[in-house]
């Protein structure tokens, strides 16, 4: 009895172990445990004197299969349809059948059938097994090698459901060979990002995050969580809304600033002092570090952030702020977040720049409708 329990324990151990090295052993033990043992032990109680033959083996398997299916129903009721549940349920069943066999002494003297095999037969069967295994391996290899289509996958997705300011651009090479690519990202037909001539091995993929503002560069503090009312909290669900919120206080505060003329070496300028020490009022982009300077890009309507000291001695940018405040505030009609953007990816394969290989595009979702 002890050795039977020990055997069971080893079997259970193998089955619930996660080792990859034991995969084959796990497969064999699991198969016996699932497709033979329960039925065999039950049949042994019913026909103790019956010798082991093909009929018994088949009935054992058929009964084990049926028992496993019914056990599945029981495990479902206990919400335990996992490896541990199966081991527990079928193990309990097998041990119970064993115990019943011993407890009720349903022992008999099975008639022994002697199996004699000739060496030539054993050799023939061994060869047959080898041939069958080879056949399956060859067929599998043939199936793996059958690649009808050479292609490149290209995709553009927003980084999250609410933001269309950043997108993920990905491509994967399934051309059945290493390939050189050129990738361009366009916003409203204007190239904002380009990855010229890069190489991908077969099955390799490249994924890039792209800021789909018109210059394609990352606003530095976008990754920071904006401060609002003294604690970290997103300003708005839609980052486009964030930008709107950010641009307004920037202009308002710029009007409040103390400014004086200065000379930065290139001639007269205006020295601007930003009051960024009040967390509740400071723009998110200028957060964390006091004295941030907000610098508008020269020819875009996007903000560029530059951190600095409390007092900016002399800054041409600040002068521009004063002179062209509309640039900072942003025109609502021209704001990249408010207009429909057509984001397009163009992929060229193996330097054939005349050949537009793929074209995926993404427009801003209709948030109102949604």
């Amino acid at each position: 009895m002890i050795w039977i329990i020990a055997l069971f324990a080893i079997g259970f151990g193998i089955m619930i172990s996660a080792s990859a090295a034991l995969l084959l052993l796990k497969g064999i033990v699991s198969f016996i445990f699932l497709a033979f043992l329960p039925g065999y032990l039950v049949l042994k109680i019913i026909f103790p004197a019956r010798s082991f033959d093909v009929a018994v083996a088949l009935m054992s398997s058929g009964l084990s299969v049926s028992i496993t299916i019914v056990c599945g129903l029981i495990l479902h009721a206990f919400n335990a349809m996992n490896a541990f549940g199966w081991v527990l349920c079928l193990g309990f069943l097998c041990l119970t059948a064993l115990w019943m066999g011993i407890r009720f002494r349903v022992t008999g003297t099975p008639t022994r059938t002697s199996l004699r095999f000739k060496a030539s037969h054993i050799a023939a069967v061994s060869l047959a097994l080898m041939l069958v295994s080879s056949a399956v391996v060859i067929a599998k290899q043939g199936s793996l090698e059958q690649r009808q289509f050479s292609y490149t996958e290209l995709w553009i997705l927003p980084t999250d459901e609410r933001s269309f300011d950043r997108v993920v651009v990905g491509l994967r090479n399934e051309e059945q060979a290493g390939t050189y690519y050129d990738l361009e990202i366009l916003v409203n037909d204007r190239t904002i990002k380009r990855w010229p001539r890069f190489y991908l091995k077969e099955h390799d993929q490249r994924v890039e995050q792209v800021y789909v503002n018109l210059d394609g560069e990352e606003p530095r503090t976008l990754q920071d969580r904006p401060l609002q009312r003294g604690r970290k909290k997103p300003l708005a669900d839609n980052p486009c809304k964030q930008n709107e919120q950010l641009s307004r206080p920037m202009f308002a505060r710029a009007a409040e600033l103390d400014r004086k003329p200065c000379d930065d070496g290139d001639g007269a300028a205006t020295e601007v002092r930003f009051d960024t020490t009040q967390p509740g009022r400071q723009p998110a982009q200028c957060s964390d570090k006091p004295g941030a300077t907000c610098k508008p890009a020269s020819d875009t309507n996007l903000l560029k952030i530059k951190t600095g000291s409390d007092i900016i001695p002399c800054d041409r940018t600040a002068m521009k702020v004063e002179q062209r405040p509309v640039m900072i505030r942003g025109d609502k009609k021209q704001s990249p977040c408010d207009q429909d953007r057509k984001i397009e990816a163009r992929l060229y394969k193996n330097g054939d720049l005349s050949f537009l290989y793929r074209n995926v595009w993404l427009s801003r979702p209709n948030t109102e409708q949604r």
Binding site: F31, V54, A57, S66, I122, L131, A135, Q148, R358
Partner: protein
């Protein structure tokens, strides 16, 4: 006048014909000859000769032959993937090369029982490996994906009965999926590998159980072995029933239930406790069968009821065995109770299939053919050798049934010889083996299955009748062979001729099921299941899971729906589930109010447009569900229909691999959150 055939009977009324004039005498001779041919007289029952081990080929050598042929079959399968024209004929030749030697050896009259069993199991497992060679890497059958999804859901969610949009009835019959998921979880194998091993096992169980059933009811292991081998000629045996689908397991459980019932009726099982224990395990098998497949469970109930009815007719007032009555009652009750507990899902599923099938059969009876024989839906005509082999198979079965039908009834103890002590009706209603009578009567289902196969909608019904009809065909043809065609003769030529005929039956049966599409071709074919499922489509489906996450609502064609559901774990839309055909939105040339309405109603988030659909007509007859979208298409869909979304405001083309596109159409799903909640 002497009989020209062995065992020709003294026929009903033959004494009167012998007294007649010349013409009547001639007619009597013809009638007697015909009767002798059909086997209504005495039959030879000494069919199993003492075994002579030195005079037959050992199973080990047959196994070696099987292994070698399988290797050739694997090379043929690979050649087909490269586009070789010889691959398909070679593959069919391999089937014959596995099957024929086993049949020829097993037909011999003097052979030990154990070797007959081994030969039969070898033939079954050899034919199963052909299926493993055909699909060695992933499932390619349409139905396989339906069950695969359910198995994956069980593994992922840890419970049964999760909704499966592809196959709404499937989760209520999760026997196969429970077994596969259990083996997959315990062994660490993938669902595909675990499923293949389970199907291989059920194949062995089925063949072994069938052998025992035939042996029990015929009393001869020779008849049993030959009957099993002829059963393998059923069109569904080699490929359809080895699909990862519930029918394969269910037929094995049906055979197990019949086998256990026969065990309980054996004379050496006298103890009440043993009988009770056998009945208990019979109930377990029955419950497992009810949990696996509704139609097969009802078929078992029908078989048991028919046996009870035949016993009742035969024995009259005499008591029918209680074991049989209890078995029949349980077989009738448990599937019904299970179905009731599940909310009777089968009615809505099976109803339309039978309705359409019967409608088309009635059209057929009015000579209005809905299906063109040997011609696929894509217009491809089967090669001549396939056509002739299929016809040859049907003709040989019909000849075998004609020669074996009455012999089989005679084997059951029915008498066609006039007995002055009983009435003719009473004489015809007397036999001593109701099971053999039942199996003989089951052969009447064979012509019925052929008629259904001639129709488009009824094809499925005919395909399902086949395995049950062949339970009888196997036995009747085996009795015909051992009592008439071969007897106890050791004549090698006759044996080989019967082996060739059996091979034609088997190969013809497989052709009628698989035809020219038995192997995966080199080139992609439109809506052709095994010829449409390939790595690029699988990869696109995996991409959706990786980048969009599982559980998104997709509209796609028939094949990509399977891949999206199986590999992508997405919620795909089907006409069966949603009552609307979203394919309309994909294939219509304009995107109007109706199309938008369909997308809105179902809450479709993404459209999967496979531009390869524009390459040809669908091989299986439909691009989508065979509903509205397919009715719109007389010709392959136009690329412009799929690409119309490119310029549609708010629609994003988020994925492109040059052949397949994924469009984000959430802009149309106005009430998405509500839809999601409903879906959950």
């Amino acid at each position: 006048m002497p009989n020209h055939f062995p065992g020709a009977p003294v026929l009903l009324g033959s004494d009167q014909t012998e007294k007649g004039d010349g013409k009547r005498r001639e007619a009597g001779w013809l009638f007697r000859s015909l009767s002798a041919l059909l086997g209504t007289g005495e039959i030879n029952r000494t069919i199993d000769l003492p075994s002579d081990e030195s005079r037959h080929v050992p199973t080990a050598y047959l196994a070696f032959n099987t292994g070698a042929v399988l290797l050739v079959a694997a090379l043929a399968a690979n050649a087909s993937r490269q586009g070789a024209q010889w691959a398909i004929p070679a593959f069919y030749a391999c089937i014959a090369a596995i099957y024929m030697p086993i049949v020829i050896v097993t037909l011999r009259p003097a052979m030990p029982r154990s070797q007959r069993i081994a030969n039969v199991l070898l033939a079954g497992i050899g034919l199963f490996f052909l299926r493993a060679i055909r699909e060695p890497q992933f499932f390619t059958g349409h139905d396989e994906y339906l069950h695969w999804v359910t198995a994956q859901q069980i593994i992922e969610q840890g419970h049964l009965f999760s909704a499966n949009v592809l196959f709404p009835i499937g989760p209520f019959f999760p026997g196969l999926e429970i077994l596969t998921s259990a083996f997959s979880e315990l062994s660490g194998l993938s669902v595909f590998d675990a499923g293949m091993i389970i199907i291989g096992l059920t194949r062995l169980i089925f063949i072994g159980a069938l052998f025992h059933i035939y042996e029990h009811i015929s009393g001869s292991h020779r008849i049993a072995a030959i009957a099993c081998l002829i059963y393998m000629g059923s069109s569904t045996f080699t490929f359809f029933d080895t699909n990862f689908a519930y029918a394969g397991l269910a037929i094995a459980l049906l055979a197990m239930a019949l086998m256990i019932n026969l065990e309980a009726e054996q004379s050496d099982v006298q103890s009440l406790r043993t009988k009770a224990a056998l009945f208990l395990i019979y109930l377990v098998v029955l419950l497992a069968l009810s949990m696996t497949h509704h139609v097969t469970a009802y078929a078992l109930a029908g078989l048991f009821m028919a046996i009870v009815a035949l016993d009742f007719i035969n024995r009259g007032r005499r008591i029918i065995g209680t074991n049989l009555i209890f078995a029949a009652m349980a077989a009738a009750m448990i599937p019904v109770l299970w179905s009731k507990a599940m909310g009777n899902p089968g009615a809505g599923y099976l109803g339309p299939v039978f309705e359409n099938g019967l409608k088309e059969v009635s059209q057929l009876l009015h000579f209005n053919m809905t299906r063109k024989l040997f011609t696929g839906d894509d217009g491809v005509v089967a090669p001549f050798w396939q056509r002739y082999l299929t016809l040859g198979s049907v003709v040989l079965i019909c000849i075998g049934l004609s020669l074996g039908f009455f012999r089989s009834l005679r084997w059951a103890g029915m008498s066609f010889v006039h007995n002055p002590n009983t009435t003719k009706l009473r004489m015809l209603l007397t036999w001593n083996n109701s099971r053999v009578v039942l199996f003989t009567l089951l052969t009447l289902g064979f012509p019925l299955s052929i008629v259904f196969r001639l129709t488009r909608s009824g094809w499925e019904i005919g395909n399902r009748i086949g395995p049950f009809a062949f339970l009888g065909v196997g036995l009747v043809l085996a009795i015909c062979v051992v009592t008439f065609l071969l007897g106890s003769s050791r004549n090698m030529i006759r044996t080989a001729a019967i082996g060739v005929c059996a091979s034609i039956i088997t190969v013809g049966g497989i052709i009628s099921s698989e035809g020219p599409r038995i192997l995966v071709p080199a080139k992609f074919q439109v809506s052709a299941d095994s010829a449409s499922i390939e790595p690029m489509g699988i990869r696109a489906a995996q991409w959706t899971k990786e980048w969009l996450g599982p559980g998104k609502r997709f509209a796609a064609d028939r094949v990509n729906r399977l891949l999206l559901s199986g590999y992508g774990r997405q919620l795909v839309s089907t006409t069966l589930k949603h009552r609307f055909d979203v394919g309309v939105a994909l294939v219509s040339s304009q995107f109007g109010k109706n199309e938008q309405d369909v997308l809105e109603r179902i809450g479709i988030e993404y459209l999967f447009a496979d531009l390869r659909l524009t390459m040809g007509k669908p091989v299986v007859g439909s691009y989508f569900d065979g509903a509205a979208a397919d009715h719109m298409l007389d010709e392959p869909p136009q690329p412009d229909s799929f690409l119309k979304f490119n310029t549609m405001p708010g629609v994003n083309r988020i994925f492109d691999n040059g052949y397949s596109l994924i469009y984000d159409v959430r802009t149309f799903s106005s009430n998405l959150s509500t839809v999601r909640q409903v879906a959950k």
